[in-house]
Structures are given as structure tokens and as C-alpha cells.
Symmetry: C2
Subunit: 197 residues, 2 copies
């Protein structure tokens, strides 16, 4: 018997959800994430503002919904993909691979990720996916540096991967140097002498 089964989404709600996501994706593509207001999204989707906000909570929720698929891909790669991103490789290599893959993800959707992280104060840390990244990094750190306080440390490590941070870094130094710097910091910190264990 299925208890607590979440009530199925109503047909009109599903229809509107898809209309909103399609309209938002198109508008963001055409005018850039920063040039599109929530009113514009609602109008283009042909729904009211109330519907838009009821469904996605706020601007950051809309961004998260649009990023959902890409996030899942990355999560799947971490949980069950081939090493070194997936299980099987030494922790140091997995951390480096995660940093790489996460940077690919952020740089591939910079404006959208930034919106998802900055639309409201502290939004970044409340996104479900953030918990996932943090947990993954914490597990790797605990393995690399036994005895360290891995959870808050993972938080601090992830700071350099925040979209706002990456945006500034890339704008000033270009993608190449930005990637290298973050790489030197994150996996370099956890395993300063290279894989030796």
C-alpha cells in the first residue's frame, strides 16, 4: 500500500508548467536572463503572475526548474557514472573531476545559475542540489583529510564555485586562468602533494 503518495499534478497545472518553462527558456535565450522580468515570462506563457509564482516560488525557483535536467545529469554521473567522476577512483581524483564537471555545468549556464543563486539572500544554500554537492565534497574531504571538520569545510570549499564568484573571475581573467585558479585551490588544497595515498 502506498502511503503519503503525493497527489498527482492536475492536468491544467501540468499544462501551464510546461507553457511557462518553454516561454522562459525562449525569452532567456533571446533577451538574456537579466533582461527578462517575471511579468514578461507570465505574459509570454499566457498565464497570470499568481500562477507563475505559486508554481515556482520566486525567480530563483524558476531558474532551478530550468536547470533541473542538467543538474540531474551531473548528479547521476557522480552517483553511478564512470570514474573518476563516479565511484571507483581515489578521493583526490574524484574531487578534481567533480570540480571540473561542476565548472562545466556552471560555465555552460552562467547567467541562469547565477540567477538561481542570487535571486534571494541565501538562495544558493537552500537549493536542493546544493546539499548534494556539499555532501559529496564533504565525503571526499573526510577521506582525504581524516579528522577534519568536513561539513563546514565543504561549504567553504564550494564558495569558490559560486556563480557570482565564477562570473567575476572569468570576466577579469578569462575562462582558462579562472579554471586553473579554482583547480589549484579546491583539489590542490585537499591533496597538496598530489595523489600519494
Amino acid at each position: 500500500m502506498l502511503m503519503d503518495e503525493p497527489p498527482r499534478e492536475r492536468a491544467d497545472a501540468a499544462r501551464n508548467r510546461l507553457k511557462v518553462l518553454a516561454a522562459a527558456a525562449k525569452l532567456f535565450r533571446d533577451k538574456g536572463v537579466d533582461g527578462v522580468s517575471m511579468d514578461a515570462v507570465a505574459a509570454a506563457a499566457g498565464v497570470g503572475k499568481g500562477t507563475l509564482f505559486r508554481r515556482f516560488g520566486d525567480k530563483s525557483g524558476l531558474a532551478v526548474a530550468l536547470l533541473d535536467e542538467r543538474e540531474r545529469e551531473l548528479q547521476a554521473g557522480i552517483l553511478s557514472g564512470p570514474p573518476p567522476l563516479g565511484p571507483g577512483a581515489p578521493a583526490a581524483e574524484r574531487l578534481a573531476a567533480f570540480t571540473d564537471a561542476y565548472l562545466d555545468y556552471v560555465l555552460g549556464h552562467l547567467d541562469l545559475v547565477r540567477m538561481s543563486e542570487t535571486a534571494s539572500p541565501g538562495a544558493r544554500y537552500r537549493i536542493g542540489a546544493y546539499r548534494f554537492w556539499r555532501r559529496h565534497v564533504a565525503i571526499l574531504l573526510a577521506e582525504l583529510r581524516p579528522g577534519c571538520d568536513a561539513d563546514p569545510l565543504a561549504h567553504a570549499v564550494l564558495a569558490s564555485l559560486a556563480a557570482e564568484q565564477v562570473t567575476a573571475l572569468v570576466a577579469e581573467y578569462g575562462e582558462e586562468r579562472a579554471r586553473k585558479a579554482i583547480h589549484a585551490l579546491v583539489p590542490g588544497w585537499a591533496d597538496p602533494a598530489g595523489s600519494r595515498g
Copy 2:
């Protein structure tokens, strides 16, 4: 001969600047930074909104003006105070001391610093003082890890000290563990085996 001498501030402008700063400081103290609108500041100071924005640019500019004195103290300590914060100590110790002192500064004015950094996108990196902290850290990193790309690296290192980041860390783990985690990351990265030459 003095060229380009900036025109002296007009008397009415100076008067209003002081009125605004006093009113803003009092309001922020009484109601918290997040509970005060720019309209409220203007009304309490007895000036128009136009005056407020002309003078301070935006909310983050107002925060910066209020933090100015504390920032200068920290900068003075770095440039000419006693070691290890000031010149004279080894780079590793100076970096640790800077991290400590900067955390004192941020934690002492958390809401105000956060507002100065997040009022507009990328505000943090445009603040004059940020350039100073980054340059200081870059110089120390270059000394500790010769050959590294110190400027972007300093950027990435400072990410863990962003007010938004510190706020989340402290809220979840408390000040003690948050401080230790950041300490483990920043100076620990630059000098993983302790000061050894």
C-alpha cells in the same frame, strides 16, 4: 600647482551627508539592516530620495560609507600595524592573521557587509576595499607559492570570506566551527605543512 583639484563639497551637501549617515546608522541599529528601506532612510534624514541616491549611488554605496571607518582601521593595520597582521612576519603568519582580522570585521558587521556585497550583482568586486584585500592576499600567496597565478587565486581564496558565505556557515555551524573551517581552508591551503621556511 594643483591640477584636477576636486571641487570642495558644498556646505548643504556636507550637511545632508552627515544627516543621512546618522539617520541610517540609527535606523539600522534599531530595526536591522534588512528592515530599513531607502525611503525610510531618506525620510528619517529629512532629505529627498534623489539626494540619497545621488550621494551614495545605491544601497550598497550607503553600506560602504557606513563601514568606511572600520575598513580603514583594518587597512591601516595591514599596511603599518604590528606583525603578524602588519609587515614583518612571515607570509604564512600574515595570511592567517589577515583571515582572522577580516573575519572579525565581517562578523562584527555581518548584515551591513552583506548588504554592501549583495545590493547589486557583482557589487562585492567593485568595492574599492575589495581590491585592497585581494592585492594583499595575492602578494602573500605569491610569496608562499612562487610561480602560482596569484591574482585569480587570491580571488578564489577570498570567496570563502564573502559575507553571504560566512552568514550561511555561521548560521549552520556556529561561529566557532565556521571560523575554524575557513582558517583550515585559507591559510591551510597556502601553507599546508605549517611555516617551514
